[in-house]
Homo-oligomer: 485 residues x 2
């Protein structure tokens, strides 16, 4: 059987025959159907849900390879999945296609921790929190940090080039990858598990698979960088009049601390008010009201560095220079947690406040003030019924514009229309400022039809060429990132 | 005229007609032939020399585009070139092909310096030293540093993913690139000049062109990262018994200084002796003889950081821990220069000592001790007439193994055979240790037939697929990186 047209449904006997062959490779108990498959068939935001032919949970790279080879031979498409925590539906079953969902969670072995090389080789199913804990036990740090730290896995982190709060100092997930192992769309295994800091032998193939959202193959293992463990830190919250002052403060702090700015998160006054109203009852540590706040952390691996003193000196100078209105430095761990609690309560508080249309755009850091001014003005004019709040990563130019409609805005289609209108405004203004419509979440399924609106035809053509060069059979993760002819 | 077979020579009238059409695009004075073309037709090591049809020096991206379009239409291959300082013949005219050499040196405009975004947009013809000076005038640093700093250009730095001494702290050239503009093999311009720290909208296309050595298109401009300017530094030289102690020292210094190790260069006793014998007459600053030396620099943007004190404390502790035998800390700038002069004299001193076969391999940092032991032993056994010296970047696992034969080893073919024998041993041992045969210089023309020896068939297939997807006409830089069917 080799089905040339993926849109023709499998007959029942074809389906059973196929599933029997998959089960022979991975074992019956690792092939899930029906109720057992459901947890994998819905994304965690509950936005997408559709049944696959089955969910396969292979336990080795060789098994992934055999499963993919079988699918390729039979013309059955594959949706790769790791921790299933994606925000754009990149690991969900698309409409109109019968697919095998291949989840790599069982590839969760730590193959090697190489301390002199500051690297670890891990399976695609390893969970971020576990890797961070592992690094910690070896007196090292793995610096990627996201909200889904407890359940997201290496394969997904790599395939979505995950961002988060650590990008400011350590770069995106892409920068953490030294080597990769990938099962290609025809089932062959590409062993690119090198652990090198310098290697210029042909095109850097691993870069293709990082951020490809599973459309070019299935990442099965990776060599990741480790960093010295942090020994000291200091947390503060400051109040500012303008966003350009936040940028100036960041650059000055980076200079005088020698790059020890670990986190630098912006929050608008409107965002803080929502958090205080809906979530954090202990109030704001800041005495003064201000249009903008920054929550920041200085940290270092050097135990002799006086983080609090550096913070005091630097913020004192910033106050004198008129960069900031007010500052609160956490004097102990519980006060630091109180500050970070404001940041971590944003998502939940906004949900309580109303129907949320959130965005994940980025612009050049220098364009942040203009972008935020333009987007806020347009949203106020065109969507007067909505509240607008801002929060995010100043140093990455990645400030999330959150548009909150009243809970009673209407039914599902009214909500969809409102969200679409808000997204369109945010995307248009981002692109007008030289920005991106998806800074860290990827394209997945959610933005597949938006991508061509904001991307040149030359670039779309290059994207399609890359896809078809690596996956000519169009078997890998259909309906994600790109539509194909 | 559309020549399907590039190997059929052009007739004289075809040649003249073609050159006339190119001159119409770029102007007569920017089309060089004969004697005027020669400086571009020989690589700076004098290893490769062959005449092109002509050398074109377009002055704008649009002109590059028009030139490439014309070549594509007529089936004439192109060799892209920037500063012409490459070490593997990547920008030279191959045997058996009539090509147009397209040099981008005139694209030397600085388009924008964006300080709040810590970025600059520059043409592919900008010289590294000029960019470093420009950054400096803006209180910033551009951290890439190579021997050819005074003449290498952005287009070449990007196309070879240049390394150098800054990789330890700042990463390779790849990590400095935020955005790219590329003229594709059919003449279309891909404008990827984004200046974003986070952007997950489809495959990261710029990664394809970084390190592609001009085989996928011509880089015409780039957005590059800037860093805070260094304000303080301290230099030292230490003596060690073993390479694993050098690695342990590096990791400890990175930890206690919070990543402020700017340079960390290894040198073998044999290498130091050659330098003292042939080059540096002022002697070594070290009292003790030891198998290995490290020359290192701590540096920071924070003017308040006491670099010398940190160096003293850290090296004092390393001495107590038995990691190092002896240390000399430069007490002033001239003493620091005396130390670095040892490092900078290596290349010239080795040339005086004999016929040099140098290598550019890398291994995982943890494998350096084993690699150096194995390769030194094999070279001593199999090439007893040669001296062996080691120098390079410990933190990148990129230690250059330098094999020096007596000056009177024989004629050109005897030298070629000796170099080949040395290279083969070094490459085999590198790959056996999980390493690369070209850490920072690229494949170019020199290693094109070696690459498949050390690369899996799966990987070679992927490399060819990428090449043919972007350059189906095989017009860009023939005879470099990959042989095509």
């Amino acid at each position: 059987m080799n089905r040339k047209d993926c849109c023709v449904p499998l007959s029942e006997s074809e389906r059973l025959n196929f599933l029997r062959a998959i089960a022979e490779i991975i074992g019956d108990k690792n092939l899930r159907t029906g109720v057992d498959a459901e947890p994998y068939e819905q994304d965690w935001r509950g936005r997408y849900q559709r049944a696959a032919l089955a969910v396969a949970l292979p336990g080795s790279t060789e098994d992934v390879s055999a499963v993919v080879r079988l699918c390729a031979e039979r013309g059955i498409a594959i949706v790769p999945q790791a921790g299933n925590t994606g925000l754009t539906g990149g690991a969900t079953v698309p409409e109109g296609a019968e697919v095998l969902l291949v989840n790599v969670s069982r590839l969760n072995k730590v193959h090697r921790v190489d301390l002199p090389n500051n690297a670890m080789t891990v399976g695609a199913g390893c969970i971020l929190a576990d890797m961070r804990a592992l690094a910690d036990t070896h007196d090292r740090q793995f610096p990627v940090m996201l909200g889904s730290v407890g359940s997201c896995e290496v394969g997904g982190l790599i395939s979505t080039n995950a961002g988060g709060t650590g990008v400011l100092r350590y770069g995106n997930m892409r920068e953490q990858v030294l080597g990769l192992e990938v099962v290609l769309p025809d089932g062959r295994i590409w062993n690119g598990l090198k652990a090198l800091r310098k290697d210029n032998t042909g095109y850097d193939l691993k870069q293709l698979f990082v951020g490809a959202e599973g459309t070019l193959g299935i990442v099965t293992a990776a060599v990741l960088k480790l960093y010295p463990k942090l020994a000291v830190s200091a947390t503060a919250m400051v109040a500012l009049e303008r966003v350009d002052q936040a940028i100036a403060l960041l650059r000055e702090l980076q200079r005088v601390t020698g790059g020890r700015v670990e986190t630098f998160e912006l929050m608008s006054q409107s965002q803080l008010q929502i958090v205080l109203r809906q979530g954090v009852t202990s109030g704001s540590p800041m005495a003064a009201d201000a249009p903008w706040y920054v929550l920041l952390e200085l940290a270092d691996s050097s135990p002799d560095w006086n983080a609090s003193e550096s913070m005091e000196t630097a913020l004192g100078a910033a106050m004198e220079d008129g960069l900031i209105i007010d500052a609160v430095i956490a004097s102990d761990q519980s006060k630091a947690e109180r500050i970070w609690n404001l940041r971590h309560s944003i998502s939940e508080s906004c949900k309580r406040e109303g129907f949320v249309a959130s965005n994940d755009t980025s612009v050049p850091v220098s364009a942040l003030p203009e972008f935020l001014e333009r987007v806020t003005l347009r949203l106020a004019n065109e969507l007067p019924q909505a509240q607008v709040a801002h929060c995010g990563h100043v140093g990455d130019g990645n400030v999330h514009v959150i548009v909150i409609f009243p809970h009673d805005i209407g039914d599902a289609s009214a909500r969809e229309a409102a969200a679409h209108q808000a997204n369109t405004i945010v995307h248009q203004e981002s692109v007008a400022c030289g920005g991106s419509i998806s800074a860290e979440h990827g394209i997945g399924r959610m933005h597949i039809d938006r991508l061509p609106l904001y991307t040149s035809e030359v670039e779309m053509d290059l994207l399609r060429r890359v896809k078809l060069a690596i996956d000519p059979g169009k078997i890998m993760n259909p309906g994600k990132v790109l539509r194909l002819p």
